[in-house]
């Protein structure tokens, strides 16, 4: 009976949120920049695009799995998600009391995140898009050389259990996007395209570009240490992996 009641409440909430079910997006003005692994001569050009203001929440994801049972915990194909997929949830369609509905969804695989964005008529951001949007602080589109910006990112590594904080609990950046740093890691569509083998000293030989970035000193060195972590975590992943500190958000192309 209790479960039925809970389910009803769940559906009610979903009905209410249905109206806003397409989570809010903002425009990111394109441009070019030098990513961590690049050299000055290897600038990356980003087209204008739209990005979700917040990472996808538990509640939004719940709605998705109710509509798409094949992505429920007991239904999901093993090749698309590992054994920790939605592990913290109480059941297939009950999130559980200890988890905030407005906290970012985590423990989802790349396949699941990709399917979610697809379902919403969106897609996952590329590494370059994500990094481009995330190099902004509150006031500048590219704050990567600021010590405060990098310290903020590095300090997140020392804060335990941020995955259960609610969306919007970190800063709003130059593009009006929240939570790119300080909440959870986020999936990107081509997460495994920059190869970090795990033997980082070998990477020194393999990918001299990546090393060149890290070889810089002073302020840029700090910048690269903060960014290095993201490349390292991406390099450690496989598409079916899920992690307690890894969520996602979607983007879509701007209409021209």
């Amino acid at each position: 009976m209790k479960t039925v009641l809970r389910l009803t409440i769940c559906f009610l909430i979903i009905c209410f949120t249905e109206v806003n079910c397409q989570s809010k997006m903002v425009s990111i003005k394109g441009g070019s920049y030098t990513p961590l692994y690049g050299r000055d001569s290897l600038q990356v050009t980003i087209e204008d695009f739209q990005m979700d203001v917040y990472p996808i929440t538990n509640l939004e994801y719940l709605e998705f799995v109710i509509k798409n049972p094949k992505w429920q915990r007991s239904q999901v194909k093993k090749i698309f998600a590992d054994g920790s997929y939605l592990r913290e949830w109480k059941s297939d369609i009950v999130i559980g009391d200890s988890i905030s509905l407005n906290a970012p969804i985590t423990n989802v695989s790349w396949f699941a995140a990709n399917a979610y964005c697809d379902c919403m008529g969106k897609r996952l951001p590329t590494i370059d898009e994500w990094e481009y949007a995330a190099m902004a602080n509150e006031t500048m589109p590219d704050a990567r050389t600021l010590e405060t910006y990098n310290e903020y990112i590095l300090s997140w590594y020392e804060k335990p259990k941020t995955f259960n904080n609610e969306i919007g609990s970190t800063f709003k950046n130059y593009w009006n996007v929240y939570d790119l740093h300080g909440l959870v890691w986020e999936w990107t569509s081509d997460f495994n395209s920059v190869l970090v083998s795990g033997e980082s000293r070998k990477d020194v030989d393999n990918d001299s570009n990546l090393f060149c970035g890290s070889g810089a000193i002073g302020a840029t060195d700090l910048m690269n240490y903060a960014a290095f972590m993201r490349y390292a975590i991406r390099g450690s992943l496989k598409a079916k992996f899920t992690m307690k500190n890894l969520g996602f958000r979607c983007v879509k192309n701007s209409i021209k």
């Binding site: 590992d82 920790s84 423990n107 310290e151 590095l154 300090s155 997140w156 590594y157 020392e158 335990p160 259990k161 890691w185 970090v196 083998s197 795990g198 033997e199 980082s200 000293r201 070998k202 990477d203 890290s214 000193i217 060195d221 700090l222 240490y225 290095f228 972590m229 490349y231 390292a232 975590i233 390099g235 450690s236 992943l237 992996f241 899920t242 992690m243 307690k244 500190n245």
Partner: protein
Amino acid sequence: MINFKFYKKASTLLIVFAFVFSCTNKEKDSSDANHSANMTVKGTQMAELTAPPFVPASVGDRRAKKLIVNMEILEQEGTMTDGTTYMYWTFGGSVPGSFIRTRVGDEVEFTLSNHPDNKLPHNIDLHAVTGPGGGATSSFVAPGHEKKFNFKTLNPGLYVYHCATAPVGMHIANGMYGLILVEPEGGLPKVDKEYYVMQGDFYTKGDYGASGLQSFDMQKAVDEDADYVVFNGKVGSLTGDNAITANVGETVRLYVGNGGPNLVSSFHVIGEIFDKVMVEGGDFINENVQTTLVPAGGAAIVEFKVDVPGTFILVDHSIFRAFNKGALGMLKVEGEEDKNIYSGVVQEGIYHPEGGVIQDMPDSGKAKEAVSTSEKTLAQKMVTGKQIYMKTCFACHQAEGQGIPNAFPPLAKSDYLNADVDRAIGIVINGKTGEITVNGAKYNSVMTKQAISSEEIADVMTYIYNSWGNNKTNVTKMQVEQIKNAH
């Protein structure tokens, strides 16, 4: 006929003997990596893993086995020193990580698990592994996942393991290192006590002793400007109640490692001489060594018999690290005294780690005494007192009188100091050994007597009493002379 038979028997015997002999000869030579590679294993065993300062039981004469090692990576907040915490990244929940004990020829099945709550991917490079990256290429693991790989221990020795994920320096600086011992066939010779001691340097946003959760400081790490240099991951991990112990007559073996990331250790035990050092953890044995170098990412095995009771201090003899950055441990030895070896308590016989002040030449001393016929003002005393303090007292009691936890008591807001001015003056004149309680914490160390004039004592004591929240006593030269003469 009989002769021939005998000859035949004897020759067979000789051949058999020679064969057996050559076999055992080969078996003994365990440093031969080729031979180790061909060693067969029999049976499976779960490896016993221990947190420092303890080590697992010796391999003894067990055969080479399949050894299962399960290591879990935990990113967790821990205490650096009283009032200061740090986000450590650990192998097995301790810094240094769990001690792994194997023997040559073992086939190690190594599982590295990265706790789901962790934020970062990690891996492990074991210096005992022969193979690309020392295992690092095969063990790169995301949070909430595990990786398994196998290796055979080919060379005996004491080896460092550490994380090798980018940025490598940061992973090591946060505590991701430990020791793996590969014993020769038959094990290392038996000793009475074995301990695990590993040095590491830490780089924090705040300076030494700054309170609260301190974050890692990348720039200081690059500059090799360490705030903490400690044994076993924190200040005081081997002092006071945490001291390692032995009894008179026992042989102590220390497995000493150095995780770095930057500094080389000049490992020394005050009041002991290492009877044996397995230099750099390898086969070469040096004898009668005072201080042995332990490179960053390297190790040494030291052995010594303890002949007399007392507290023996483990230090990095790059000595400011010991007294100002935390690289200090204690070995407490109990048992009967042996006056032949050490005569016992003679004040002047005690090791002076900080040397005290250099005595003035007699005539310059006289000149000073002559000048000061009348008592100085408080302001004058504060100026000279501070100079004397910075020259004489600062090294142990620190710039703000805060002392060093577990080693040197604080002078700032010190209940012990403020309770009895005459006693405090007496300590400066005569020195002090033995246990005292200051602001609720116990200290058991040595203060040497200070060879400074009565006037200088009055000035420095006045400076101390009028600083850092103390009771503002104005100590006079007369008062000091009275106490001096009373003894």
